[in-house]
Symmetry: none
Subunit: 250 residues, 2 copies
DNA sequence: TAAAAATATGCAAATTCATGCAAATTATTC
DNA sequence: GAATAATTTGCATGAATTTGCATATTTTTA
C-alpha cells in the first residue's frame, strides 16, 4: 500500500469520526504503529490534522480525548446518532438541519443505505457526500454566520415545495411548558418550515438541553413524532414527555 | 507498445483504482520499471496524475483539502488569489464557483471588504462565512460527488434570476483552439449558466492548465473578461491569449 | 508513585528512485 | 531507399525513501 493511500484513508477516517487511534489504524492498514505515527506526523505538519497522544483528531475541535464534559457530549451524540439511523429506510427522502449532533448522524449513515438527503447545512452536505449511495441536495440561501445553516425566505419557499418522509432537527431547549425553543429567529423560521413540510419529524438533543427554555419558540413538543436522546426512553428526565400519543421517545 | 498507448492505459488504470504501482505496471505492460517511472513523470508534469513513492495516484479533491505537498501549485494559487482580489469592490455581488484556487481566494478576502458572495460550493460558502463583512448566499442543488459543487436544473434556474457584477470560475483546460474546457458535463452546464448571468467573468487557473483541452467545452476563451494566472501577463505561455480586446490578462 | 501505554530516535534491510550511458527503435532528411 | 538525427528503452550505479525493530524517554492511568 502506498503511503499517500494511507494518508487519504486516515484523512477520511478523521473526517468521519473526528478521531483516529494509532492502534486501530495499525491493524486496519496492516503496518506498524511506527509507520502510522510517521503518517500522522506528516499530516500534522501539513496542518491537516491535529496529533494527540494516542492518535490524531480533526482540526476543528481540538480538545483532548479526555476532556470530561465534551467527551460525554461526544459519546452522547454517538448514541443519539445510532438511534436516529434506526429511522432511516431505503429510498426515503430525509430532510436534516445542521448542528453537531446531526453531523454525527451524517457521519454514521450505513454505507449500504440508498436514500436522498436534503439539508440546509453546507457542513452536513459535505459529510453526507462521503457516502457513495447517498444522494445529497443542498437547500441554498443566505448562510447564517452563527449557526452555519441557510436561512431566509428562499429556503422557506423551497421547503414548501417538498414533502420529505422524515425531518430531523436539533434544538437548544425542550421543556413541557415552553415546547421546543431556540436562540435564533431566522433559524427558527426555517425549522418551522421544515416541520411543516415533513411527514414525520424527529428531534435530536442531548439530555442536558431538556427542561430548558430559549428565547424563540419552534413548536409544542407534542407536534413532534420522535424525540431522540442518549438516555433510555424510561429515564426519569424524560417522564414529562411520555404518556401522550406523540412523540415516541427513542 | 507505443509510449502514448502506455500513457492511456496508465490513466485509465488510475481512473479505475485511483492508484497505480510501478511494479504492477511494469509487469502488465512488459517494460522496465524505469520506463514506467519515466511515463509517470511525464504524466505528472502534464498535471494529469500525482506521482508518489512507489507509483502514482489520481488528482482527487477531497474534503477537507488533502494537501498534496504541491508547494508550487499552492504558491501559484496565492498569487492568483491576490490578483483576483484586486477585482473586488465594495457592495459588489460576486458569483464564485468551487475548486482549490477559488478556495484560496475565499480565504484571502480583505477583512474590510463589504460585499455579497454567491457560490455553488459548500466548502467555499463555509470559508467565506469566516469573513464578518461578507454576506454569503449558497445556491443549492444536487451536490456532485466528484467536484463538490451544486449542479442540476434548479441551479441553472436560480442563476437565470440573478445578475452578479462579477463571476469567478475555474477550469481544467484552456487552449486557443478548444477554449475553456472541463471534465464534467453537469458542472459545465452550471458554469455556462454562471457566465451567462454575470456582467463580467474571470477565469482563474494555474499556468499548467494552459494549452490543454478537456472533454467538455465551456466557452470560447474570447468570451471571458479576465484571465488570471500566477504568471505575469507578458509571459510567453500567454502570448496566444493576448491581442484581442477581451480577455484582459492579469 | 509505579505500571502500562505511547512516543521519539537511531539503525539496518528492502525498496524505489534519478542519472548516465549504450543499444534499439523511430522519425526525418536527402 | 539509405543515411542521419532524434527519441525511446533497458541496465548499472549510487542516492534517497520507506519501513520495522530495538531502545530510551515521555505521557497516561491506576
Amino acid at each position: 500500500m502506498l503511503k499517500e493511500e494511507r494518508h487519504k484513508i486516515i484523512l477520511k477516517e478523521i473526517n468521519l469520526h473526528n478521531k483516529v487511534l494509532s492502534t486501530d489504524l495499525s491493524e486496519q492498514l496492516v503496518v506498524s504503529e511506527d509507520t502510522i505515527r510517521r503518517d500522522l506526523n506528516e499530516l500534522s505538519e501539513q496542518g491537516l490534522i491535529v496529533k494527540v497522544h494516542g492518535g490524531a483528531m480533526g482540526k476543528t475541535f481540538h480538545y483532548p480525548f479526555n476532556g470530561q464534559n465534551q467527551v460525554y457530549a461526544q459519546e452522547a451524540k454517538q448514541v443519539i446518532a445510532d438511534k436516529a439511523i434506526g429511522l432511516f429506510q431505503k429510498d426515503m427522502l430525509i430532510l436534516v438541519e445542521g448542528g453537531t449532533t446531526i453531523m454525527e448522524i451524517a457521519k454514521k449513515i450505513p454505507p449500504d443505505l440508498k436514500a436522498t438527503f436534503m439539508t440546509i447545512s453546507p457542513q452536513v452536505a459535505l459529510t453526507l457526500a462521503e457516502h457513495e449511495q447517498i444522494d445529497v441536495i443542498t437547500i441554498g440561501g443566505r448562510l447564517a454566520k452563527n449557526a452555519y445553516v441557510h436561512t431566509g425566505a428562499s429556503v422557506i419557499y423551497e421547503l414548501a415545495n417538498i414533502r420529505p418522509d422524515l425531518c430531523i432537527i436539533g434544538t437548544n431547549g425542550i421543556s413541557p411548558e415552553g415546547g421546543l425553543t431556540d436562540t435564533d429567529w431566522e433559524v427558527v423560521q426555517v425549522i418551522k418550515a421544515m416541520i411543516r413540510s415533513a411527514k414525520k419529524t424527529a428531534v435530536v438533543s442531548i439530555a442536558e438541553k431538556f427542561n430548558t427554555v430559549q428565547k424563540i419558540k419552534i413548536s409544542d413538543w407534542t407536534a413532534i413524532d420522535y424525540i431522540i436522546t442518549e438516555l433510555p426512553p424510561d429515564s426519569p428526565v424524560l417522564s414529562a414527555y411520555s404518556g401522550k400519543e406523540k412523540p415516541v421517545l427513542l
